[in-house]
Symmetry: C2
């Protein structure tokens, strides 16, 4: 380790520029200068390097507004086909896979509709292997052309170690799923809590591209929360992420899959609602109370609601917002924007792929 400088600064601006080019499609250098506050000299040098490395191409296609006077802008865009990543999302009822290009756009995606609960981990790994091979092949690519694999999994996931500590999919066993997949596909593999992934995806190509602090609440089979704080994914001690689904909303409530009682997950998750539909009335209230309490402390400028429970059950989402209005301090509530964002399977898998892309872009963190 050299210290702070070479890593932070060094790759930092290069990363920012790649990221800008990805986000803003074909973009001229001048615009990069304006948005980054870097000097033209620096932008010229860095983009020159990117073009030389084959990551970026320049074209004279006109982009729009500037009236036509003066030297025409040269538009830059990512050489999207040069590198590919694969994203996988595990849910209780299916496995979603997507192959993305270097810009994070899905090239091909598929869904394996298989029930995963109570399957041994090795079997699940086999299914993932099959799905990935199939999807890569359908995309017209060979496995060697894939730079890496990102996998989103609900539960308590230690991303840095690649292990699941608890998950509705794997149960209480500690499973090094990343290693199991690497053994099968010989690709660098990262796993991450699915809600964390959603947060990453929202900041990467979703509804929070402008923010460094926000929360994503996902309510599908499972309730989850991803937090971006200071522009970075919040993982707590030991790299284990936020477990919003296991916040306690009823002392001595129903028994949860996690082994405890009264978890939010037992009253508001898709899993619970499918077994006990009359919970629907209270689900939004409970979610809202738990979220309001969290937001009274964290006071984030935006909360993004995703997952089928929140995007297709109007009642739940409306009650949730009503609870926020009621339980958050008014000063803080005013400063918090609530956004509902419906996600498809492909979006999840793209989020997982963005785990890989961050590395390819040379992220500084």
């Amino acid at each position: 380790m050299k210290s702070a400088d070479p890593e932070l600064t060094g790759g930092g601006n290069r990363f920012r520029i790649i990221d800008l080019i990805r986000r803003l499609g074909p973009i001229a250098r001048v615009e990069i200068v304006e948005r980054t506050n870097l000097s033209p000299a620096t932008v010229s040098a860095i983009t020159g390097g990117l073009i030389e490395d084959g990551l970026v191409t320049a074209s004279h296609v006109e982009g729009g507004e500037p009236s036509g006077r003066g030297r025409p802008r040269v538009m830059l865009q990512l050489q999207a086909g040069i590198l590919h990543a694969v994203g996988v999302k595990l849910s209780l009822g299916r496995i979603s896979v997507a192959v993305t290009d270097f810009a994070g756009r899905a090239v091909h995606s598929l869904v394996l509709p298989v029930r995963l609960d109570r399957q041994p981990a090795e079997t699940i790994a086999d299914l993932v292997e099959d799905g990935v091979r199939q999807c890569v092949s359908d995309a017209g690519l060979r496995l060697e052309a894939i730079s890496g694999l990102g996998i989103g999994i609900p539960g308590v996931i230690d991303a840095s170690a690649g292990r699941s500590h608890w998950s509705p999919v794997f149960g209480h066993a500690v499973v090094n799923f990343a290693a199991m997949i690497e053994r099968r596909l010989s690709l660098p593999t990262q796993i991450e809590n699915d809600a964390n992934l959603a947060a990453l995806a929202e900041s990467w190509f979703g509804r929070a591209q402008d923010l460094a602090d926000f929360a994503v609440v996902t309510a599908e089979d499972t309730i989850g929360m991803g937090l971006l704080l200071g522009g970075r994914l919040h993982r707590g001690a030991h790299g284990i992420g936020a477990e919003f689904g296991h916040v306690k909303v009823e002392v001595d409530g129903a028994l949860c899959r996690c082994g405890q009682r009264g978890c939010l997950d037992t009253v508001a998750s898709g899993w619970a609602l499918s077994r006990n539909p009359e919970l629907l009335e209270r689900a939004g209230d409970m979610l809202g109370l738990a979220l309001a309490n969290l937001m009274n402390v964290l006071n984030l400028p935006r909360i993004i609601l995703t997952g089928s429970v929140l995007t297709s059950q109007e009642l739940v989402a409306n009650r949730l917002e009503a609870a926020l209005d009621r339980f958050m301090l008014p000063t803080l509530r005013e400063a918090t924007e609530i956004v509902r964002h419906e996600w498809g399977d492909e979006m999840w898998a793209r989020g997982a792929a963005s785990l890989v892309l961050r590395r390819l872009y040379g992220e500084p963190p």
Copy 2:
């Protein structure tokens, strides 16, 4: 704004080195090299600059262990007397003031035992002015020798704007207290939520000097929480900090000073307990439940408990810990250490002073 580099990198290592010298008393350059992973050349250059600027002095006093072989170490320490700061803490029942030296050690401190509730803000500002003038004079200094003033206040404080949006001391009026004090003393003044200040102080000279993520819970008159996340104080949207005291623990509970019902503050704060001692039984449970839920999400490696309610009421603190054991996910609970830390008035005021010292050290954030 130049970009990322000059600010982040530039002052960064200088700040780290000043901070190391402050923390580890007389310290040799070699040790700074070991602890920062900077090169000897860099440390030599930066410390040379500090000595030239008069912020640091070198002495040949022996520090200890190294067996005596080789060139003897030259020990560096802060020139503590060169600059001074003043810290102030407002509570409902008193104003605490401390003058600190450049190393953050209290040179002199005093407490004004006055009740502040229902006093107009201008009167409180007058009292603070008197206290500061008195304390500075008692310390044998003149006001011109003070580099700045930091003030800790309970409530919803917008630190960047210098305003109180709600506080048990000022009520619901929006009060620009920083400006009111600057007008009286002509000193650069910052205000901050008192619990945030406690967090800053714990990381600056308390029980969390080794951590970049932790929480401080204070239970005195008021319940508060300060969060350090990623080495930085967490302030939410609009710079308003964490409001742990107004988390809802009872739907339709007692009316809180903030105007809402069922706040944690109504069942566990010193203010509530003094009026209603039979709450004592439940106070720890409620605190513990609210904290457990937060920690299930944030999963921090350490929680520091401070404030008279938690440090002098064994029952409350014990019940709190029991609730954490019961309500946190076991995996996460194991990763979280609970520390009780008794604070005096002087400690609070030193924390406030450290607001000023950070600036003097040239903090990069």
